[in-house]
Symmetry: C2
């Protein structure tokens, strides 16, 4: 069989503010691969099916010399992120042709992997779409599930405020909070998103672009639990509206990712008087504790319709640049996924 | 016996910035008391021996309608704070004449108390000076002890940064941190204070007014545990210098108490990436858990010289105004105590 095109999406340039499609990252079709003859050297050949586009990817678009919790992208190399692939050929006993694997995939159509430990076999007995395994049943879902379990200390009747509540993390948190008997206040950046957030059970959902977060919290709070995906001014508003002994779960701060002039928070003194607990975290460091429980529970509950989710799917590896920008600006409607190929 | 003068120190006016001696609070000698005949109505007559002057008192100098963790001072009424008194007469079986009691005392020479539950009997088998019971063996010592036990999660070889390290809280924390095998970086506001902090075991002690905190932390950090008595710019520097999984113990923010223009902290995004845990607290809410252990352990260790402390004693209830300002501006050398009368 003749070699086939092996499209890739490459990191091209470190952005200053928002990433620019076709400049920060670029699509490349210069490589080919012979799917039958490409040497495996003890590894396995994977066909990429779906790739996840996540807010945290902005932090990886940095000078490679700067340390951070997630490795940088390297200029001229393919991006990589969570994805699901199908094994086409294998010399590794861990996986056989036809298996589906979850892990960090390079943004290219086909690749040969060596380290089986970097991938998880997805059995998918529930028959969920593979895209679900990079969203509600993947890293974003884990993010919500692990940290809520670890730090919310939710009690029935408490008030939780969830930001970016229509995204795969936020929407899952809304449902976990409801499940624990909380009153849930949820914010999102468009009326459509707000409508979705209401369908997953938020008691109060509002568009933060047209309603004043401080006023909503003043009316509906005080808040006992704050799920922060936003940072900046929203964090300041949440501190202002926090109840005594409030718990803040600091998952992300997307309002601060694309600016060189961070929002100056002026009310931190309330951390003392209100006895707030603020928990910054990265999902990776909690895998060992919660991963097995997560995979036992969440796909089953998603398949049963107990946990709802929303996806914003784009087809084509060439569309990655725009997808990344959409996620940074909040234009996506739910979990942003690139479908690279069909199963 | 004829009535005697019963001097009082009154709250007179809500300050805007720093409290002003003779204006914010005033000394008053208009009242008298007959120590033999004053009716007890089932209570007990106390002679005030020592009174504590603490940073948090600034927060009580507010409009009484504003809620906060500690009750406000009331205009025209005596201040009150932790102190030690001696029971002169009693109709309450909980205390007898000659007993020493610890609790919230009004800033006046003599008073009749009704509620025995508000006071703790001090046996003082170790024969410590009564002033120690408002410092290292009182609320400031408890503050250090409780929160260090609860949140430091200190491991041998970790780096702790302690601010206001010559004060009764800070100096105790330095010693607890050393006891747990930490390298201790300590800051204070004068060379004399720095010298004292070194005597209690700090590995690196510096005068933050003459040395740049950021530079010291850059050289001696990263820091695993931050004991914050200061807030503002120092908190920002500590976030900058924090190690991954750093624990921040937010005890107070004296740099922010006397300003209407709080310092704008711009690097909170690092809370996520570094997975910081920030614990605001008020000592009162931890009494039930740690109080008995504290009184069993700390006075004994202080008497044995294992825990060192420094006091800055002023004699006379009329000197309270200046003492309060000294504590707010950091002019005190160690725990500020007013000795009202001898035992």
């Amino acid at each position: 069989m003749a070699p086939v095109k092996n499209g890739r999406h490459l990191f091209n340039e470190i952005p200053k503010g928002f990433p620019e499609p076709g400049k920060t990252t670029v699509y490349d079709e210069s490589e080919t691969i012979d799917l039958e003859k490409a040497p495996l050297n003890g590894g396995f050949l994977v066909k990429t099916l779906v790739l996840s586009i996540d807010p945290y990817m902005r932090g990886r678009m940095r000078d490679a010399s700067i340390k951070s919790y997630a490795p940088p992208f390297y200029i001229g190399k393919p991006l990589d992120n969570f994805g699901v692939g199908k094994v086409l050929r294998s010399e590794n006993p861990a996986f056989k042709a036809g298996d589906h694997v979850y892990g960090m995939l390079p943004f290219q159509e086909y690749f040969v992997a060596q380290d089986a430990q970097q991938f998880r076999l997805l059995e998918n007995k529930e028959g969920l779409p593979w895209s679900a395994y990079v969203g509600v049943c993947g890293m974003p879902g884990q993010t919500a599930y692990y940290a809520w379990k670890e730090w919310s200390a939710a009690k029935k009747g408490e008030v939780a405020f969830v930001t970016s509540a229509s995204g795969p993390v936020g929407a899952t948190v809304v449902q976990l909070a409801k499940g624990d008997g909380c009153k849930v206040i949820a914010s999102a950046g468009s009326d459509d998103k707000v409508a979705f957030v209401k369908t997953v059970g938020a008691d109060v959902a509002f568009n933060y672009k047209t309603e004043d977060t401080r006023k909503v919290l003043e009316k509906e709070g005080p808040i006992d639990i704050f799920w922060d995906n936003v940072g900046g001014e929203t964090l300041e508003a949440a501190i202002e509206a926090a109840n005594v002994h409030g718990r803040f779960i600091e998952c992300g701060m997307i309002s601060q990712y694309n600016t060189s002039d961070p929002y100056p928070v002026k009310n931190l003194i309330q951390i003392v008087g209100k006895q707030l607990k603020i928990h910054g975290f990265i999902v990776f460091s909690m895998h060992d504790k919660y991963q097995d429980e997560f995979y036992r529970e969440v796909p089953r509950r998603v398949a049963a319709g107990e946990i709802k989710y929303q996806e914003d799917i784009t087809r084509g590896l060439d569309k990655v640049s725009e997808a990344i920008l959409d996620v940074q600006t909040g234009k996506n409607q739910g979990k942003k996924v690139i479908v690279v190929a069909d199963d």
